[in-house]
Subunit: 104 residues, 2 copies
């Protein structure tokens, strides 16, 4: 058994992506952000859908064709495949812990 | 956008299972327990794997062939397909909120 809030690496200079479980066509990952945002230019454009929830911290997701969404603890949303998006902000007050499910 | 900790139904006489998202062969659900446990006789014996995390509350999972596991906030584990299991206890102090991912 593991805990999503524990074993946080000390070096959070870069965002951290860790696979928690992998299935035939799904992947569950923990993402730890610490004030990072996606590169200014470019969007994530993924072939799979992504369901994300913020379990700690705060973040803002930006989309290419709709308003930004601010996510606080417990907030979740679904990002359809090829919905261009990026993380435009994460809090510096504490680390932001995401759970992301990539699926078809 | 929704929040996993909000819109808790008032009537928690029975455990509540809600689908949050469904993919080609995955299902993500929120489970809300309030002191319930699985029926005393019988086990869950599922054809899909299940990854579960307790996001609020406390619970004990029992297995047919290994020791019980107590889950507190943030604890997660993976239950392989056909691993017989059941919820043997959930706290009465507060509702227990689970996120469960059923996948192949």
């Amino acid at each position: 058994m593991n805990n999503i809030f524990k074993e946080i690496p000390k070096d959070l200079t870069n965002e951290i992506f860790e696979d928690l479980v992998q299935g035939s066509n799904i992947k569950v990952e923990r993402i730890i952000s610490n004030g990072q945002s996606s590169p200014r230019s470019g969007w994530y454009d993924q072939t799979q859908h992504e369901w994300v929830i913020v379990l700690k911290g705060e973040a803002i997701l930006a989309f290419d064709n709709k308003p930004d969404v601010k996510l606080k603890q417990g907030d979740y949303l679904n990002i359809k495949a090829h919905q261009k998006h990026k993380v435009s902000w994460t809090t510096l007050e504490e680390e932001t812990i995401w759970l992301a499910i990539h699926y078809d």
